[in-house]
Symmetry: C2
Subunit: 350 residues, 2 copies
């Protein structure tokens, strides 16, 4: 179980931070899997979550204190973040009274769903009347430039993958936590909706118009001190039949000094595309280095993050050791931590 | 000088065709370079251009008959297309009376500028009152899906490049013209604004949200008969620090059976990015084939389209022969045509 995060907070940069601390909203959710955004926020931004709120009859709790929007505002909350990720990404009409209550209590609303808060009429008029904001973390910021390709100062790590949903966000977050514990000046740079809520800022890369996607990645991790690390959440995969373009724009714009390749043990085909065999880890390393060299000739791969959630502890340990031997680089499952993960985290800094 | 096109017209597919024939509008343009959209339409869609119209004092003409919007409507025109591509892509206030006149005369308006027709108040209200359309060819169609990666029937050629602005559109258009003259069932599939006006339909790939860019390329060239060829206008380059993601999405979604690599002779760095050396032609072939194989294992390179506009005829002929010898494949400049170009066009069909 991850501990409350140390400092996965908003980094300095051009992108406006979200209003925080958060009150987490669980809606009327009855299935823990649909509350994973709230769990992620509790685990990684716990010090910026004053509590949780829900509709009467909700069956899931994050374990944080139950606070009304009024109580949460009194304790410092400045927004209520919808922590539900239901299939279809809709905002249920049953939630609207609680969402209005939060606006009345002085909180902005933050959503990361497919549905837009501003498309719901009572919310739009209440926000206008009260001077509150309806923030959609999937909405890119204004003013994203075309990428310049200019090499930026500071150090960058990008998590890349053999596929979607292999642990790129989790790997980036655990590396930042580990490094900050060692005194490294490191920030998490979010490129997806849950990551943006955790970081308190970021850009949903997949929602940017294609011509500006590499420019968005450049904007996301601006010039920084020579010892500063931005750890950037990867998206998609260079081998994905739908999302490879996003992955390449992110690789070029991020200009990573270091990549960590993420893979889910046992997965053999692209998620949702059973006709597409997954690339090997070696091929994933090689192609990312080759293409990444275009904007940062010093790019290197520090190791592999292996998601072993489907294995038991002994199987996982054996596989991690065997893969490390086979590939000749550190391999670890950040969920399991331990010495293997510390070696991977160290190898990135070398 | 290209002849009037044979049949670069709207192809069957899911994307709504633009209203045609066109009346070309030249605004108050005084510099031929800024009227190149109009020249492109005259050269490639001449049979669908009833004439030209301009503000008093315009100093550029396409050579087509000067017709008022009322005359053009009477001769069958159904839209007035802005044929100006000025720096900044703005719509001059000086054009608004003529644009309103066209709406009153029964014509829809088509723009491909950065500025949107619908953002100009008198046009918006006049269009609403008259039931006319303000069409922006850079606006992607609704309902673009995430790419499926499913292999589609029919044959596809994609022009790819070492850089932007090397002749990818022109190469695709000349191949279609050559093939149709030979009786091949071939259509031009447009991915940029001028191409869309020429074809009468298409998708501005660079304006699609990144997650859907490969899906847009799939939508652009739907399933077709086994002998049918879609010739797809390439965008950007896999080596471009800003646009590589667009190029990869287009490569994956197009699933080309054949690529033709386009290069501008003498160009040594990426246009607008002098710090980025251009890749070699061999490297461009190899990387496009390697990445394109992911969605179409049968992909092959049929040859090279070499833009020799900066050379005289003798220099061009020598360079084309030398490059063909060096690369071991057909090389031609479609602007110069001739036997070399016929060999290239044949090699694509082999």
């Amino acid at each position: 179980m991850p501990q409350p995060a140390r400092s996965i907070q908003a980094a300095p940069g051009a992108i406006e931070p979200l209003p925080q601390p958060y009150l987490l909203f669980l809606g009327d959710v009855a299935e823990p899997a649909y509350a994973k955004t709230a769990f992620g926020l509790r685990d990684w931004a716990g010090e910026r979550c004053v509590g949780e709120y829900a509709c009467v009859g909700a069956k899931v709790s994050t374990g944080l204190r139950y606070l009304t929007p009024e109580q949460a505002f009194a304790e410092g909350a400045r927004s209520m973040a919808i922590g539900v990720a239901n299939p279809g990404g809709h905002i249920s009409p049953a939630w609207v009274p609680q969402l209005l209550q939060a606006l009345e209590a002085g909180l902005d609303l933050i959503g990361g769903m497919h549905a837009r808060l501003a498309d719901i009429e009572p919310l739009r008029s209440a926000a206008a009347r009260l001077g509150r904001r309806l923030l959609d973390v999937r909405q890119p910021p204004p003013g994203i430039p075309v990428a310049s390709g200019r090499k930026r100062s500071g150090m960058r790590l990008l998590t890349v993958g053999t596929d979607c949903a292999v642990g790129k966000k989790y790997t980036a977050l655990t590396l930042v936590r580990e490094w900050r514990a060692l005194g490294v000046d490191a920030y998490f740079r979010a490129t997806g909706q849950t990551g943006i809520l955790i970081a308190g800022q970021g850009i949903a890369l997949d929602a940017v118009v294609a011509d500006f996607a590499a420019g968005a990645a450049e904007m996301l991790s601006p010039d920084a001190g020579a010892e500063h690390w931005d750890v950037i959440e990867g998206q998609g995969s260079l081998f994905h039949p739908a999302y490879a373009g996003v992955a390449l724009a992110l690789l070029h714009g991020s200009q990573p000094d270091v990549i960590v390749v993420c893979h889910a043990a046992g997965r053999e085909t692209v998620l949702g595309h059973p006709g597409y065999p997954l690339p090997g880890i070696e091929e994933t390393i090689e192609l990312n280095l080759r293409l990444g060299r275009r904007t940062n000739p010093r790019i290197r791969c520090a190791g592999v993050s292996l998601n072993t959630a489907k294995l038991d502890a002994a199987q996982a340990e054996r596989l991690i050791a065997a893969e490390s031997e086979r590939l000749g680089c550190p391999v670890a499952d950040p969920m399991r931590g331990g010495e293997a993960f510390r070696r991977l985290a160290q190898a990135c800094l070398r």
